[in-house]
Symmetry: C2
Subunit: 390 residues, 2 copies
């Protein structure tokens, strides 16, 4: 309190603003942990609903708890008709992230537990949000193409049902499991810009939906969730390019960024990228998109060599670099890549919102209220004198 600290103009980089029990990153060693568990271990052995439960509750579910949680997710797949009705009137070129954001506020209006701010009620609201964001994104994708939205298939898992709703085809078990792993990998990442926005908004005691809507807004920015689609655009634009290495070198000579390379926190390979790279290669065996994956790997290889030469060996592929090729191979269109990020990250957002609301990890003054230094006009102690316009 009252402590005067000047961290001006660094975008809070390196500034520790809170305690958290949700997740941990060691950027030097390339370690990511959710609630104590290594991401590699979770990606190998758990499913997205288990990870969502782990995040929300702080511990892994036993079989019965997991069955109960999956049941809750199933039940919440029904969304208010009004959301479908609204979609029929939105312009077809509307951004899916805007659709998600407006739908979240509409879900708030229809939630009978909105005013109940207990941990238990907020976990139930979080569970409903986790269940519903994929339904909304897939329904919008159908409606904007002039197709009727499909009904959920209750025999399908969270990830498989999403692919079904999107494509109208039941995905293979392998592809469904791969998407499930992607959701596991993207579920949380400490105080990134969208998660911090969620926490900041609910620090005023705003409800969980208001927080998640802010998270969707922040994620929609091209510097945050928009990066995977940008990687994909680059890869597609390079189709037919024979000298990938030359392209990389020229780009670096011009001091341009290579999308999907480098991270604010990781100074080594992003542990999620390692898993996604393997997945992209494996998927290519079935999808026949080996050339695309090959191209990613050529870019990576040259870029790493060049960064090494240029004294920037800490720049490595991040999570977006290979998620792009993975999603593309699953038939996910460019402009749904960021929404899929949201569909996963909503587990982390809601967990952080609940942590902020309950004060489970820390006690702190009510709300985030930083200071700014005024560098504008100032005509003296009493301010400028206003004269009506003439």
């Amino acid at each position: 309190m009252g402590k005067t600290v000047d961290v001006k103009n660094i975008g809070l980089r390196g500034v520790t603003v809170a305690d958290t029990k949700v997740s941990f990153i060691d950027g030097e060693k390339g370690i990511l942990i959710y609630r104590g568990y290594r991401i590699e271990d979770l990606a190998e052995k758990s499913t997205f609903p288990e990870v969502a439960y782990l995040l929300l509750q702080g511990n892994l579910p036993n079989k019965k708890q997991l069955a109960g949680f999956n049941e809750e997710l199933l039940k919440a797949r029904e969304i208010p008709d009004q959301i479908y009705e609204g979609m029929k009137q939105y312009p077809a070129e509307a951004l899916t992230m805007d659709i998600l954001q407006s739908s979240i506020s509409i879900l708030a209006m229809h939630d009978p537990e909105l005013e109940d701010d207990t941990r238990e009620a907020n976990v139930r609201k979080a569970t409903r949000l986790i269940a519903r964001l994929p339904i909304i994104a897939a329904a919008w994708h159908r409606i904007r193409k002039g197709l009727a939205p499909l009904s959920s298939d209750d025999s399908l898992s969270h990830a498989a049902n999403f692919l079904w709703l999107l494509h109208g085809e039941t995905p293979s078990e392998e592809v469904a499991r791969d998407l499930d792993i992607c959701l596991v990998l993207h579920a949380d990442h400490t105080f990134n810009a969208s998660t911090f926005a969620c926490r900041e908004v609910v620090s005023t005691k705003a409800h969980i939906y208001a927080g998640v809507a802010a998270g969707v807004g922040a994620l929609s920015g091209s510097l945050h969730g928009g990066a995977n689609a940008k990687v994909m655009k680059t890869l597609l634009a390079l189709e037919g390019e024979n000298d990938i290495a030359g392209w990389v070198r020229e780009k670096l000579d011009r001091h341009e960024r290579i999308m999907g390379m480098g991270h604010a926190v990781y100074k080594t390979m992003d542990p999620r990228a390692i898993i996604l790279k393997e997945m992209a290669q494996r998927l290519a065996k079935t999808t026949g998109m080996g050339k695309l994956v090959e191209r990613s790997m050529q870019i990576e290889k040259t870029a790493l060599e060049e960064f090494e030469k240029r004294g920037k060996s800490q720049i490595k592929p991040n999570v977006d670099f290979y998620s792009a090729t993975v999603y593309h191979q699953m038939g996910i269109p460019l402009d749904l890549m960021t929404p899929i990020f949201a569909i996963s990250r909503v587990a982390g957002w809601t967990t952080h919102i609940i942590e902020e609301k309950t004060g489970e990890a820390q006690e702190k003054p009510a709300l985030y209220r930083p200071k700014a230094e005024y560098v504008g006009t100032y005509c003296g102690l009493m301010g400028c004198t206003y004269t009506p316009p003439s």
Copy 2:
């Protein structure tokens, strides 16, 4: 960058995170300045559209510029039909702040300039948002009561038109001007929680609507925009209470807060409260609600005496304390008090968003990305070992 600073658990209080040219507060002296101009001077001599122009453009408009800006506001009063259609389907008990938030995302979908991120285009989008939030709030208020929304009266000012749309009666010039002054007083307040949320969201390059939606979410929290309605509830609950002084003392003895007293930044009387107190008294002469205003003043008097005795003389009435009685006298229902705050503050939010996007006041790394300290489970260097649920 890379600077490691620990400001943990203080909610960023006293932490200077950025430069700004928009506004300035001296909490010790009770000074609030927008773009160089004292709030008292603006409240006395300017109108809300002039102040919105001042904020957005950085300078006061001349007559021609002001006429042009007012013309823009007039033109933007038409909103997409879909917003009215949606309202007819929302549950009547839906929160107006949620209606505003979902409508903002819907406005984004319909904005032909959405992708144009230049300063000029963003000022135009800001102008449309300023014009439209009151239209949306008033339309919702009519629709939830089963009434048809009214059409704007182009002969009326921004503030007068809002009261017309709300009540279906043209307000007196005095009342319209008083609301206009309220809008001037609430238009900006440096890096409060909602404004910081706006800036944080667009620091990812998200569009202006995503930022404003986050601001609405943060303002909806009871610790931020919800305070004026809480003041009013207290005042109404005290109707018929003869011993107001005793009630205040008992409350303070129980270490309870008195709503509308005290502020994170002001250590003296909030300059806005001084103006609103006078306005509340003046309005009472016409509304016949002198007793209500009297009650506010009794609470203030005893509270100030008691705070003095208790060594807390820095606690004074804040902006919410008298805005409550002012709005109530204008026939504004409790649950529209926070939305009216939003209708004004949107001028400040959009200005800050544009400042964040253009870097007019500062250069800083792309996005806000703080750190958190992990205080959760951690089973050793390699993390806990995951075992599937049993």
